[in-house]
Protein backbone atom coordinates (compact mmCIF):
# COMPACT_ATOMS: atom_id res chain seq x y z
CA UNK A 1 0.00 0.00 0.00
CA UNK A 2 1.47 3.39 -0.98
CA UNK A 3 2.34 5.89 1.72
CA UNK A 4 0.63 9.28 1.89
CA UNK A 5 3.72 10.96 0.45
CA UNK A 6 3.71 8.58 -2.51
CA UNK A 7 0.04 9.26 -3.12
CA UNK A 8 0.66 12.99 -3.01
CA UNK A 9 3.54 12.73 -5.47
CA UNK A 10 1.46 10.61 -7.81
CA UNK A 11 -1.30 13.21 -7.64
CA UNK A 12 1.14 16.05 -8.33
CA UNK A 13 2.66 14.21 -11.28
CA UNK A 14 -0.79 13.52 -12.67
CA UNK A 15 -1.94 17.14 -12.28
CA UNK A 16 1.16 18.46 -14.01
CA UNK A 17 1.32 15.83 -16.74
CA UNK A 18 0.67 17.11 -20.22
CA UNK A 19 -0.83 14.22 -22.15
CA UNK A 20 -1.19 10.48 -22.35
CA UNK A 21 -1.89 9.89 -18.68
CA UNK A 22 -4.69 7.52 -17.71
CA UNK A 23 -7.62 9.21 -15.98
CA UNK A 24 -7.51 9.39 -12.20
CA UNK A 25 -10.94 9.13 -10.58
CA UNK A 26 -12.27 12.31 -8.95
CA UNK A 27 -9.05 14.17 -9.59
CA UNK A 28 -10.03 16.37 -12.50
CA UNK A 29 -11.34 19.11 -10.22
CA UNK A 30 -7.98 19.30 -8.44
CA UNK A 31 -6.16 19.61 -11.73
CA UNK A 32 -8.47 22.35 -12.94
CA UNK A 33 -8.20 24.21 -9.64
CA UNK A 34 -4.43 23.94 -9.52
CA UNK A 35 -3.78 25.00 -13.09
CA UNK A 36 -6.54 27.60 -13.11
CA UNK A 37 -5.46 29.11 -9.81
CA UNK A 38 -1.79 29.31 -10.67
CA UNK A 39 -2.56 30.73 -14.10
CA UNK A 40 -4.64 33.40 -12.37
CA UNK A 41 -1.70 34.18 -10.10
CA UNK A 42 0.49 34.71 -13.16
CA UNK A 43 -2.19 36.86 -14.79
CA UNK A 44 -2.23 39.04 -11.66
CA UNK A 45 1.55 39.35 -11.62
CA UNK A 46 1.86 40.00 -15.35
CA UNK A 47 -1.19 42.14 -16.17
CA UNK A 48 0.36 43.89 -19.18
CA UNK A 49 1.65 40.66 -20.69
CA UNK A 50 -1.84 39.27 -20.15
CA UNK A 51 -3.40 42.25 -21.87
CA UNK A 52 -1.00 42.13 -24.80
CA UNK A 53 -1.80 38.56 -25.77
CA UNK A 54 -5.40 38.33 -24.57
CA UNK A 55 -7.07 36.04 -22.06
CA UNK A 56 -7.18 32.76 -23.98
CA UNK A 57 -3.60 33.03 -25.15
CA UNK A 58 -2.32 34.01 -21.71
CA UNK A 59 -4.12 31.20 -19.89
CA UNK A 60 -2.68 28.69 -22.37
CA UNK A 61 0.79 30.09 -21.86
CA UNK A 62 0.43 30.29 -18.10
CA UNK A 63 -0.75 26.70 -17.75
CA UNK A 64 2.10 25.47 -19.90
CA UNK A 65 4.51 27.42 -17.69
CA UNK A 66 2.93 26.05 -14.51
CA UNK A 67 3.58 22.53 -15.81
CA UNK A 68 7.09 23.50 -16.77
CA UNK A 69 7.91 25.16 -13.46
CA UNK A 70 5.38 24.68 -10.65
CA UNK A 71 5.79 26.79 -7.48
CA UNK A 72 8.59 25.78 -5.15
CA UNK A 73 7.04 27.37 -2.06
CA UNK A 74 3.58 27.95 -0.67
CA UNK A 75 3.54 31.78 -0.78
CA UNK A 76 2.86 32.83 -4.34
CA UNK A 77 3.78 36.52 -4.11
CA UNK A 78 6.92 35.92 -6.12
CA UNK A 79 5.76 33.03 -8.25
CA UNK A 80 6.66 33.53 -11.88
CA UNK A 81 10.17 34.96 -11.66
CA UNK A 82 11.19 32.43 -14.32
CA UNK A 83 8.18 33.18 -16.51
CA UNK A 84 9.78 35.93 -18.68
CA UNK A 85 12.79 33.77 -19.60
CA UNK A 86 10.54 30.83 -20.39
CA UNK A 87 8.24 33.05 -22.41
CA UNK A 88 11.15 34.08 -24.62
CA UNK A 89 11.31 30.57 -26.02
CA UNK A 90 7.64 30.37 -26.95
CA UNK A 91 6.07 30.80 -30.36
CA UNK A 92 4.17 33.91 -29.29
CA UNK A 93 7.46 35.65 -28.41
CA UNK A 94 8.46 35.35 -32.04
CA UNK A 95 5.27 37.11 -33.07
CA UNK A 96 5.58 39.76 -30.35
CA UNK A 97 9.34 40.12 -29.91
CA UNK A 98 8.98 42.69 -27.10
CA UNK A 99 6.64 40.47 -25.07
CA UNK A 100 9.28 38.69 -22.96
CA UNK A 101 10.98 42.00 -22.13
CA UNK A 102 7.67 43.49 -21.01
CA UNK A 103 7.24 40.43 -18.79
CA UNK A 104 10.75 41.01 -17.44
CA UNK A 105 9.76 44.57 -16.55
CA UNK A 106 6.67 43.28 -14.79
CA UNK A 107 8.76 40.78 -12.80
CA UNK A 108 11.06 43.65 -11.76
CA UNK A 109 8.00 45.70 -10.79
CA UNK A 110 6.72 42.86 -8.60
CA UNK A 111 10.14 42.47 -7.00
CA UNK A 112 10.29 46.18 -6.21
CA UNK A 113 6.75 46.21 -4.90
CA UNK A 114 7.41 43.49 -2.33
CA UNK A 115 11.02 44.41 -1.51
CA UNK A 116 12.29 45.53 1.86
CA UNK A 117 11.67 49.09 3.02
CA UNK A 118 14.70 51.33 3.52
CA UNK A 119 15.17 54.88 4.72
CA UNK A 120 16.33 57.31 2.03
CA UNK A 121 19.79 58.85 2.00
CA UNK A 122 20.29 61.85 4.27
CA UNK A 123 21.06 64.35 1.56
CA UNK A 124 22.18 67.01 4.03
CA UNK A 125 24.96 64.80 5.37
CA UNK A 126 25.97 64.06 1.79
CA UNK A 127 26.55 67.72 1.05
CA UNK A 128 28.98 68.03 3.95
CA UNK A 129 31.31 65.35 2.56
CA UNK A 130 32.89 67.77 0.14
CA UNK A 131 35.27 66.37 -2.45
CA UNK A 132 35.70 63.19 -0.38
CA UNK A 133 32.44 62.10 -1.98
CA UNK A 134 34.51 60.99 -4.95
CA UNK A 135 35.68 57.95 -2.98
CA UNK A 136 32.33 57.28 -1.40
CA UNK A 137 30.33 54.14 -2.16
CA UNK A 138 26.65 54.84 -2.75
CA UNK A 139 24.05 52.30 -1.76
CA UNK A 140 21.06 51.89 -4.03
CA UNK A 141 17.66 51.18 -2.56
CA UNK A 142 17.25 47.41 -1.99
CA UNK A 143 14.13 47.32 -4.15
CA UNK A 144 15.99 48.38 -7.29
CA UNK A 145 16.25 46.41 -10.50
CA UNK A 146 17.62 47.36 -13.90
CA UNK A 147 15.81 46.41 -17.09
CA UNK A 148 17.40 46.89 -20.48
CA UNK A 149 15.66 46.13 -23.73
CA UNK A 150 15.95 46.97 -27.43
CA UNK A 151 12.23 47.83 -27.19
CA UNK A 152 10.58 50.78 -25.40
CA UNK A 153 9.06 48.42 -22.85
CA UNK A 154 8.24 51.20 -20.39
CA UNK A 155 6.04 52.88 -23.00
CA UNK A 156 4.34 49.60 -23.82
CA UNK A 157 3.82 49.13 -20.08
CA UNK A 158 2.35 52.61 -19.56
CA UNK A 159 0.11 52.39 -22.61
CA UNK A 160 -1.42 49.23 -21.17
CA UNK A 161 -2.19 50.45 -17.67
CA UNK A 162 -5.89 50.45 -16.77
CA UNK A 163 -5.93 54.25 -16.57
CA UNK A 164 -3.96 54.81 -19.78
CA UNK A 165 -5.80 56.48 -22.59
CA UNK A 166 -5.74 55.28 -26.15
CA UNK A 167 -2.03 55.90 -26.51
CA UNK A 168 -0.02 54.28 -29.22
CA UNK A 169 3.58 53.21 -28.90
CA UNK A 170 6.17 53.59 -31.61
CA UNK A 171 8.49 50.61 -31.45
CA UNK A 172 11.01 52.10 -33.85
CA UNK A 173 13.08 53.95 -31.27
CA UNK A 174 16.77 54.60 -31.43
CA UNK A 175 18.97 52.44 -29.25
CA UNK A 176 18.26 50.48 -26.12
CA UNK A 177 15.85 51.38 -23.36
CA UNK A 178 17.43 51.42 -19.90
CA UNK A 179 15.11 51.43 -16.92
CA UNK A 180 15.56 51.68 -13.19
CA UNK A 181 12.69 50.05 -11.32
CA UNK A 182 12.67 51.10 -7.67
CA UNK A 183 10.24 51.65 -4.80
CA UNK A 184 11.67 54.27 -2.42
CA UNK A 185 8.27 54.84 -0.79
CA UNK A 186 4.81 53.50 -1.49
CA UNK A 187 4.85 53.67 -5.28
CA UNK A 188 7.00 51.68 -7.69
CA UNK A 189 8.86 54.07 -9.97
CA UNK A 190 9.94 53.32 -13.54
CA UNK A 191 12.78 55.68 -14.28
CA UNK A 192 14.07 55.87 -17.84
CA UNK A 193 17.84 56.31 -17.85
CA UNK A 194 20.14 57.65 -20.53
CA UNK A 195 23.18 55.50 -21.31
CA UNK A 196 25.38 57.65 -19.05
CA UNK A 197 23.05 57.49 -16.05
CA UNK A 198 22.62 53.77 -16.62
CA UNK A 199 26.40 53.28 -16.57
CA UNK A 200 26.69 55.45 -13.44
CA UNK A 201 24.06 53.49 -11.53
CA UNK A 202 25.30 50.10 -12.68
CA UNK A 203 28.76 51.04 -11.39
CA UNK A 204 27.42 52.43 -8.10
CA UNK A 205 25.22 49.36 -7.71
CA UNK A 206 28.30 47.18 -8.16
CA UNK A 207 30.01 49.03 -5.30
CA UNK A 208 32.33 51.31 -7.27
CA UNK A 209 32.97 54.77 -5.78
CA UNK A 210 31.38 57.83 -7.31
CA UNK A 211 34.56 58.93 -9.09
CA UNK A 212 34.90 55.64 -10.98
CA UNK A 213 31.18 55.48 -11.68
CA UNK A 214 31.36 58.97 -13.15
CA UNK A 215 34.23 57.86 -15.39
CA UNK A 216 32.08 54.98 -16.61
CA UNK A 217 29.24 57.33 -17.40
CA UNK A 218 31.48 59.74 -19.29
CA UNK A 219 33.01 56.87 -21.24
CA UNK A 220 29.58 55.97 -22.60
CA UNK A 221 28.20 59.48 -22.91
CA UNK A 222 30.70 62.33 -23.26
CA UNK A 223 27.95 64.88 -22.61
CA UNK A 224 26.89 63.24 -19.37
CA UNK A 225 25.79 65.87 -16.84
CA UNK A 226 26.42 64.47 -13.36
CA UNK A 227 24.80 67.34 -11.49
CA UNK A 228 21.61 67.12 -13.51
CA UNK A 229 21.34 63.33 -13.19
CA UNK A 230 22.14 63.30 -9.47
CA UNK A 231 19.53 65.97 -8.84
CA UNK A 232 16.86 63.79 -10.40
CA UNK A 233 18.04 60.60 -8.71
CA UNK A 234 18.30 62.24 -5.28
CA UNK A 235 14.85 63.75 -5.67
CA UNK A 236 13.47 60.32 -6.51
CA UNK A 237 15.24 58.97 -3.39
CA UNK A 238 16.82 55.99 -5.10
CA UNK A 239 19.81 55.98 -2.73
CA UNK A 240 19.79 54.82 0.88
CA UNK A 241 23.28 55.77 2.00
CA UNK A 242 26.86 56.76 1.22
CA UNK A 243 29.91 55.26 2.85
CA UNK A 244 33.49 56.37 2.81
CA UNK A 245 35.86 53.43 2.51
Amino acid sequence: MPTLLERQRDMRDWVLATAGTPPLPNAGLHRDNTLGGLAAVLAAGFPVTHRLVGEACFIGLAQAYVRHEPPHEAPLLRYGTGFPAWLRGQEVARQLPYLADVARLEAAWTHAYHATEAAPLDAGALATLGDAVEDAVWRLHPSHRFVTSPWPVDRVWRANQPDAGDATVDLDTEGDTHLLVVRPAAEVLLIRLGPGAFALLMALGAGLPLGSAWDNALALDAGFNLEHELTGLLAAQVFTGVELP
Binding site: R31, D32, T34, G36, G37, L38, A40, A44, G45, P47, H50, L52, V53, G54, C57, I59, G60, L61, Q63, P75, L76, L77, E91, V92, R94, Q95, L96, P97, Y98, Y113, G124, A127, G130, D131, A132, V133, E134, D135, P150, A159, N160, T168, V169, L171, A185, A186, L189, L210, G211, W214, E227, L230, T231, G232, L233, L234, A235, A236, Q237, P245
Partner: protein, 90 residues
Protein backbone atom coordinates in the same frame (compact mmCIF):
# COMPACT_ATOMS: atom_id res chain seq x y z
CA UNK B 1 38.41 55.72 7.66
CA UNK B 2 40.94 56.69 5.10
CA UNK B 3 41.20 60.34 4.22
CA UNK B 4 41.59 61.42 0.67
CA UNK B 5 44.74 63.43 0.24
CA UNK B 6 44.37 64.31 -3.40
CA UNK B 7 41.06 64.81 -5.04
CA UNK B 8 41.42 64.05 -8.71
CA UNK B 9 38.46 66.18 -9.47
CA UNK B 10 38.18 69.32 -7.48
CA UNK B 11 34.60 70.40 -7.62
CA UNK B 12 32.94 67.01 -7.37
CA UNK B 13 31.85 67.90 -3.85
CA UNK B 14 30.31 71.09 -5.19
CA UNK B 15 28.50 69.20 -7.92
CA UNK B 16 27.01 66.82 -5.37
CA UNK B 17 26.11 69.67 -3.03
CA UNK B 18 24.34 71.49 -5.86
CA UNK B 19 22.49 68.32 -6.81
CA UNK B 20 21.42 67.87 -3.20
CA UNK B 21 20.12 71.42 -3.10
CA UNK B 22 18.26 70.91 -6.36
CA UNK B 23 16.79 67.63 -5.19
CA UNK B 24 15.42 69.10 -1.98
CA UNK B 25 13.72 71.82 -3.99
CA UNK B 26 12.01 69.20 -6.11
CA UNK B 27 8.75 67.86 -4.84
CA UNK B 28 9.43 65.02 -2.44
CA UNK B 29 7.65 61.79 -3.24
CA UNK B 30 5.15 60.40 -0.77
CA UNK B 31 6.91 59.05 2.26
CA UNK B 32 6.49 55.41 3.07
CA UNK B 33 5.24 56.45 6.47
CA UNK B 34 2.30 58.27 4.92
CA UNK B 35 0.96 55.12 3.37
CA UNK B 36 1.23 51.58 4.40
CA UNK B 37 1.38 48.54 2.24
CA UNK B 38 -1.52 46.28 2.89
CA UNK B 39 -0.63 42.93 1.48
CA UNK B 40 -3.28 41.27 -0.54
CA UNK B 41 -5.64 44.12 -1.22
CA UNK B 42 -3.64 47.03 -2.59
CA UNK B 43 -3.04 45.67 -6.04
CA UNK B 44 -5.79 43.50 -7.38
CA UNK B 45 -4.61 39.94 -7.50
CA UNK B 46 -1.30 40.57 -5.82
CA UNK B 47 -2.17 38.28 -3.01
CA UNK B 48 -1.74 34.72 -1.98
CA UNK B 49 -5.40 33.83 -1.76
CA UNK B 50 -5.07 31.45 -4.62
CA UNK B 51 -2.92 28.72 -3.30
CA UNK B 52 -2.49 25.56 -5.27
CA UNK B 53 -4.88 23.70 -3.05
CA UNK B 54 -7.83 25.87 -2.12
CA UNK B 55 -10.91 26.12 -4.19
CA UNK B 56 -11.29 29.86 -4.59
CA UNK B 57 -9.38 29.27 -7.79
CA UNK B 58 -11.26 29.07 -11.03
CA UNK B 59 -11.32 26.28 -13.48
CA UNK B 60 -8.84 25.69 -16.20
CA UNK B 61 -10.40 27.10 -19.29
CA UNK B 62 -7.97 25.76 -21.81
CA UNK B 63 -6.77 22.58 -20.26
CA UNK B 64 -4.40 20.69 -22.49
CA UNK B 65 -4.99 22.98 -25.38
CA UNK B 66 -1.66 23.75 -26.94
CA UNK B 67 -3.47 25.77 -29.59
CA UNK B 68 -4.27 28.41 -27.02
CA UNK B 69 -0.85 29.94 -27.17
CA UNK B 70 -0.32 29.56 -30.87
CA UNK B 71 -3.65 31.19 -31.62
CA UNK B 72 -3.74 34.78 -32.71
CA UNK B 73 -3.10 37.05 -29.75
CA UNK B 74 -6.10 39.23 -29.14
CA UNK B 75 -5.35 42.19 -26.98
CA UNK B 76 -3.92 45.60 -27.34
CA UNK B 77 -1.14 44.72 -29.75
CA UNK B 78 -2.98 46.68 -32.38
CA UNK B 79 -2.23 49.87 -30.48
CA UNK B 80 1.48 49.32 -30.83
CA UNK B 81 2.73 50.46 -34.16
CA UNK B 82 5.92 49.36 -35.77
CA UNK B 83 5.96 45.66 -36.29
CA UNK B 84 4.40 43.14 -34.02
CA UNK B 85 4.91 40.46 -36.63
CA UNK B 86 8.63 39.97 -37.05
CA UNK B 87 11.56 40.34 -34.69
CA UNK B 88 13.03 43.15 -36.70
CA UNK B 89 15.60 44.11 -34.13
CA UNK B 90 18.53 42.23 -32.72
Amino acid sequence: MQTTTVSRRLGLGLIVATAVAGATLAAAPAKAADMEKCYGVVKAGHNDCKTDSNSCAGHATKDRDPGAFIAVPAGTCAKISGGSTEPAKK
